[in-house]
């Protein structure tokens, strides 16, 4: 599951239109991907709000705007009642800004709600795009001695998750290094052998992804191998 597909399916997930398998896949991805989880939360909030209001939205009263409208009405009526009282001013050509500012923004309640929803969606999408950009900048070209080197050929949607997994690997590696000296040589050999097995799986997946960046099976295997590595490190750090 990648972020693009996930965000396409979030709406169906919230509507309950997904199969059990898709739900499982999507929920697994949402547990691991902060960006997608935020999009899901935003959409969910909008849906909850719309359901709660049932299409009737109370606009917040704007006393100042209302008072301005009343005053304008009174002035125009009083101007019309005293002929000649107001001298005609020379006409000035209005610019775009003047027209924009003087335009009366009277929106119906559903329009207001729709506008709010649109703004929320746009802001969410911008946030996601921004976070991805930051993630890719932060991870690009970072080679870690304890983990796989993330290259530019790896699909962009992997980088956030891989970055998080790499942080966890670094953390547990540090714990392991502290405790490793106490282990028997046999235990150390066992650990090193099995870490190599998992690293081999990680490297195989990365190699496949470098050939075909959109290979979903390799992406899943890479994710599983990295999680397996985290589990191995975590479990041995308990010794």
């Amino acid at each position: 599951m990648n972020c693009e597909l996930c965000q396409e399916l979030i709406s169906d997930l919230l509507d309950g239109n997904l199969s059990r398998e898709d739900q499982l896949l999507l929920n697994t991805h949402l547990e691991q991907c902060l960006s997608c989880a935020e999009v899901r939360n935003d959409l969910n909030s909008i849906l909850v709000f719309c359901h709660a209001q049932r299409g009737e939205y109370a606009a917040s009263p704007n006393e100042r705007a209302m008072w301005l409208r009343i005053r304008n009405t009174i002035e125009s009526e009083s101007g019309a009642a005293v002929p000649g009282a107001a001298k005609p001013r020379p006409e000035r050509r209005e610019g775009f800004w003047d027209r924009f500012m003087s335009r009366s923004w009277q929106l119906s309640l559903p329009q207001v709600a729709a506008s709010v929803a649109a703004v929320a969606v746009v802001v969410s999408l911008l946030t996601v795009v921004g976070l991805r950009g930051i993630g890719s900048l932060g991870s690009k070209g970072v080679a870690n001695a304890d983990g796989p080197a993330v290259t530019g050929t790896t699909p962009a949607f992997n980088l956030d998750r891989m970055s998080q997994q790499q942080q966890a690997i670094n953390y547990w590696n540090a714990r392991i290094e502290t405790n490793k000296a106490r282990w028997s040589s046999q235990m150390r050999d066992t650990f090193d052998r099995n870490l190599n097995v998992i690293d081999q799986a990680v490297n195989d997946s990365l190699r496949e992804l470098s050939k075909n960046p959109h290979d979903e099976v390799s992406e899943e295997m890479l994710n599983a191998a990295l999680n397996e590595k985290i589990a191995l490190l975590k479990e041995f750090s308990e010794l």
Binding site: S184, N194, I198, V217, S218, E228, F236
Partner: protein, 257 residues
């Protein structure tokens, strides 16, 4: 000269006798040493039908089998330097935490467990290294986790939740898939074999980069091959239970009972 010669012969025969004596005593001494290096423990606890066993071991073999008594018997052979552990009984559960009780001790000998318990028990077994065998357990859940090297054999299992995983070693499951149950098997470099009745119904997600996925009689044309056969997804029967099998470097084989 003769005396000298005789003296040399005498020394030689003494040395010979001494070496024969040592050769005879060595096996006896080493056998005694072995006996002293191993420690046997056996304990019994009363157990209800809904017993839950939780075992966290560092290294050693774990064998769990069912019997028809309402009690649990824990037998262990401890190798030197012997690990400390004391099983705790909490409600319906029995907890043995060798890892927790020996944290920071570093070099601790293997503990080989043999545990007998009621068939309706749930078991949660974990070891950093060593084989796990579970037989004829028909409780709610069976979990077997080997962090590194060790085979996992689960035979005669009927539980609604089964999870078996290791890094190096084979996994063998022989049992039944319950309606609505969840079954997960994963190995880093081992082969995974699953032996189930021919009328089993389940939804399968199987992935092996080696493409060695053999579904035998369980294959049908509703299965979807993904990534040139590295992953197979599909339903067998009505797909009423969920089965996930993953191996990074081994094969996946389904066998009929």
């Amino acid at each position: 000269m003769k005396t000298n010669l005789f003296g040399v012969q005498l020394k030689a025969s003494r040395a010979l006798r001494l070496s024969v004596l040592v050769a005879l005593l060595l096996p006896c001494l080493s056998a005694t040493g072995l006996v002293q290096a191993q420690q046997h423990i056996s304990k019994r606890y009363p157990a209800g039908k809904n017993l839950r066993l939780e075992l966290k071991n560092i290294s050693g073999e774990i064998t769990v089998e069912s019997w028809d008594r309402e009690e649990i018997r824990i037998s262990a052979v401890l190798e030197s330097p012997a690990a400390h552990f004391s099983p705790r009984q909490m409600g319906d559960g029995v907890i043995i935490d060798v890892i927790g009780e020996n944290r920071g001790r570093g070099d601790v000998g293997a503990v080989n467990f043999k545990i007998q318990l009621p068939a309706s028990s749930s078991v949660d077994l974990e070891t950093r290294r060593g084989d796990i065998h579970v037989s004829n357990v028909r409780g709610g859940s069976v979990r077997a986790r080997v962090s590194s090297e060790g085979d996992i054999d689960l035979t005669g299992i009927s539980a609604s939740q089964v999870e078996a995983s290791n890094t190096t070693g084979n996994i063998f499951f022989d049992g039944e898939f319950a309606r609505g149950g969840t079954y997960q098997f994963s190995s880093g470099k081992g082969d995974i074999s699953i032996r189930i009745p021919v009328n089993s119904a389940f939804h399968l997600v199987a992935a092996a980069p080696t493409k060695n996925i053999a579904l035998s009689q369980f294959w049908n044309n509703r299965f979807q091959k993904i990534g040139d056969g590295r992953k197979m997804v599909g339903d067998v029967g009505d797909g009423r239970s969920s089965v996930t099998v993953t191996t990074f470097g081994g094969s996946i084989t389904f066998l009929r009972k």
